[in-house]
Structure formats: structure tokens, C-alpha cells
Amino acid sequence: MGSLLVQEKDIIIPGEILAEGMDYLPGENTYRENDKIHARVLGLVTLSGRVVKVTPLSGPYVPMIGDKIIAKVVDITMSGWRLNTNTAYLALLNVKDATTRFVRKQEDLSQIIAIGEYVIVMIINVTSQRLIDASMREPGLQKIVGGRIIEINSQKVPRIIGKKGSMISLIKTHTGCEITVGQNGLIWIKGTPEGEHKAELAIKIIEERSHLSGLTEAMEKYLGETHDL
């Protein structure tokens, strides 16, 4: 026996009961106490067969191997750079992971990437203490030059990218901008100032309405309609 007390896409607060009885299974961001499944975070209910999970609507980014993130250089060490990832944890970018060319021992690393500059990197390792190793050697990874960087909540990143990149492609097409979305919520936009501003506004709207359905259609309409500033 068991009963589901919520529906798909319901907004749920921490502690709220999602289901009773042993028929349902506690998925991500839920927990079971006795025979009840509770939400563990503010978010949206997602049902997947018998698994009840909650998709957070806000919350900190948890660094994962393979994630592409945008980070800021905060320190230069003997062997590389230390990066602020917009989380509680710093990332280390080793010189050998930053470039394919040979870097001489005494070379001034700040000439390659200086403190305060931003980079697009990939997370290649995360220790149990959450120390992060990053690499910039894959294609698409680079030091950021030009354009602007904006910040959104990392939980909204999947919505900004969209299914198979549909949402982000929509924004790119309508604004003429190159856009790189970091999994940690930092987004690099590069185009004309007007295009960048339009893209920024569009992304903020998606962030605000991420819990609603029909968003792709709504954004198509919005982007098609806004005039160039």
C-alpha cells in the first residue's frame, strides 16, 4: 500500500511529505523516515516510475568530474594557478594541464593567465575534501577574453542549456552571441553589446521561470519579438 501526495512539477519545501507507504522509492533530494518520503530541499517534484525525486530550484553547485566550469584566477603558484569556482572549494590548474606548449621553468605564469582573469576549464578530479583539479587542454577550454560573464544559480543550468542544447541554441541564434555555460552557474556571453544584453535578459528570464512548462515556446516568442536596443 502506498499513496503519492504530490504531483509532477509541484513545488515542495524541505520536510514536506511526498509519499506514504513502501510502494514508492526515495530518489534524489528526498529521504525516508518510517514509511514517509520527505523532500530535503526546496524544489520541484519529479516522478520516474516508482521513484520520487526533487529537482532543486536553487542551491550550491557540487563539483563533478567532467563538468565544464568558468572560474576566476585568484592566485599563482609555482606550478600553476588557483581558481575560485564560485563554490566553497578552490580548483588547481596545473601548468601542464593548461597548455600544450612547453613552459620554461622560470616563465612568468601571469603572462599566460593573470590574477583576476577568467578561464573555462574542465574538472578532472575531485578529492574527498573537495579539492578540485582542473584542465584547460580540451578544445573549447580557454582563457576568457572579451564579452561579459554573468552569474545564475547553478541548479538552473540544465534549463538554460535545454534538451540537446535547444534553449541555448535559440538564444545564440536570436542574439548572434557565442555563449559558454559553466556548470557552476557562470556564463560567458560574447557578441555585440546589444546582443549580449539581450542574451543576458533572456537567460535571467529563464532562470526566473525555470519551474514552468512551455518555456522553450515562450522564449522563442520573447526572443523573436524583442527589438534591438
Binding site: G147, R148, I149, E151, L186, P193, H197, L229
Partner: protein, 263 residues
């Protein structure tokens, strides 16, 4: 919080801003509410864009200073609380908060905005002392202008508390209808120089890209009561003249907004 310094400076050269406002436009909305705190003798909340600040006026009866026995006094205190930004830490006011407080203070004091003599109750013995506390709720830039507006609004909204005539004790829970003796209404406007262009009302991001700023505090008739230059870069005399002109023009705009709160 991200700062796109290079972009902001590049755009300024073209007379543009990162969020497409004009250089001399204030953010919308500007909202000014008074009497937001029942425990203050006068208070105000000012919101410019996403910057939100509170101002509270407290009155107390104290012995006048020796050198001004027939006058009351005024003091301005500002706190940049960690609630309002990840940039601030708990603790006593740092240089930024102190500058904010002192510039706002000078604007009011040097304009002789409050009639200190009318604050005197009994020469040499008792006078009213006014303290204005400025607290940030969300710092998204241009605190100078926001707190200046809030301080003035709070002063205008303030009313003396009831004083027991026999014991001289203040009953803070009851207010009279009597406002503070305000002679002038000084208002600060800060002009920022970004890549040699002048702009007003920067967001927090834009504030991190300026080379110099000038706060001009003036009364309704354009008499300047305080100036404060900030920033690492220098200013020429002609730049100062332009900044003062722009500041006086913008002050008129802000006064219209302020008047709305008192209709």
C-alpha cells in the same frame, strides 16, 4: 559577484552601459518609503534599482557640548552589514562605511540643515541630539546617493517624542506632531568618471570600474554644502565643473522622487 571591468570601460567610451541605460539615467524603480520602523523617531527605506538602504533617526536629550552650550547636535553613523553583500564582514565600520557616514554627515551639518539652536531645551544643561543610522539591506552600488536620500527622508519624517514635563523623561512610545527644525534639505549626488566619461547611479559592478568620483551635496537652491572626491584617478578643474553641473541637475530629479514620499 562578477565585474566586467574592461567591457564597462569600453562601453563608456561609446556613451553606453552594460545594461543599456544612458550614462545620466538612474535605475528604475526609485522608491522612497517613510516610517518603516515604528521604534525610530523618523525612518525611511530607499530603493534604487536593487540597492536598498534603511535610515533611522533617534533623538535623545543630553548635556550640550562645552563650546556650544545653546545648541543640540547631530551625528551620522553608517553600517555596511554583511547581510547586504558577500563583500562585507561582521565588525566595526571599515573605511568605506566611515566615509559614507562622514560625507552624509557633512552634507547635512555644513548646510546647517538642522537648526541646532532650536534643539536646545535649556542652555548649558539640556538639548536634543539627533543620531541618524544608515544600514544597508542590499548593496548593488551607489550607496552615497541612496543613503543621502534615506537620511533626508528620515529627517523630514521624524517627530519629537513626548517628554514628561515634570520628570523630564522621554516616552519613546509616543510621538508628538512636532517635526525637527529643518532649515535646508541637502541632497548628495555622486558623479562617477569611467574611462573619461561621466555617469550617475552605477551598479555595484560599474562601481568597480571607475577611476574617480565626486559626491556633491547641495540644497534646493544649488548652494553646495559638501564635496568629496574618491577614487584613484585625478580630476581636472573642468571635469569638476561638469560633474557639479550634472550633480545639481540630478539632484532636482531626485527631489521630485523624494517629494512623492511626502504627498
Amino acid at each position: 559577484m562578477i565585474v566586467n571591468k574592461t567591457l564597462i570601460r569600453e562601453l563608456a567610451k561609446q556613451g553606453k552601459r552594460i545594461n543599456m541605460r544612458s550614462l545620466t539615467e538612474y535605475r528604475k524603480p526609485i522608491t522612497i518609503e517613510t516610517n518603516i520602523s515604528w521604534t525610530a523617531e523618523g525612518s525611511a527605506k530607499v530603493q534604487i534599482g536593487q540597492t536598498v538602504v534603511l535610515a533611522g533617526v533617534k533623538l535623545a536629550i543630553e548635556k550640550p557640548y562645552n563650546d556650544t552650550p545653546s545648541e543640540g547636535g547631530i551625528m551620522v553613523n553608517a553600517e555596511l552589514v554583511p547581510l547586504s553583500s558577500s563583500e562585507y564582514e561582521p565588525g566595526p565600520p571599515g573605511p568605506k562605511a566611515v566615509e559614507l557616514a562622514r560625507v552624509t554627515d557633512r552634507g547635512i551639518r555644513e548646510a546647517k540643515a538642522v537648526d541646532m539652536k532650536k534643539l536646545c531645551i535649556k542652555s548649558g544643561e539640556k538639548a536634543w541630539f539627533v543620531t541618524i543610522d544608515l544600514i544597508t539591506i542590499n548593496d548593488d552600488g551607489n550607496l552615497f546617493d541612496a543613503v543621502g536620500l534615506a537620511a533626508l527622508a528620515a529627517l523630514k519624517a521624524a517627530r519629537f517624542p513626548v517628554v514628561d514635563q515634570k520628570t523630564g523623561a522621554i516616552d519613546y512610545k509616543q510621538k508628538t506632531e512636532e517635526p525637527l527644525p529643518l532649515l535646508k534639505e541637502p541632497l548628495p549626488v555622486t558623479i562617477y568618471k569611467v574611462n573619461n566619461e561621466l555617469l550617475v547611479d552605477p551598479t555595484w559592478e560599474e562601481e568597480n570600474a571607475y577611476e574617480a568620483r565626486l559626491t556633491v551635496s547641495a540644497d534646493k537652491d544649488g548652494t553646495i554644502s559638501a564635496l568629496q572626491k574618491g577614487g584613484e584617478g585625478p580630476l581636472t578643474i573642468s571635469e569638476v565643473a561638469k560633474m557639479v553641473d550634472l550633480a545639481l541637475e540630478k539632484a532636482e530629479f531626485l527631489r521630485v522622487e523624494l517629494d512623492k514620499a511626502f504627498e
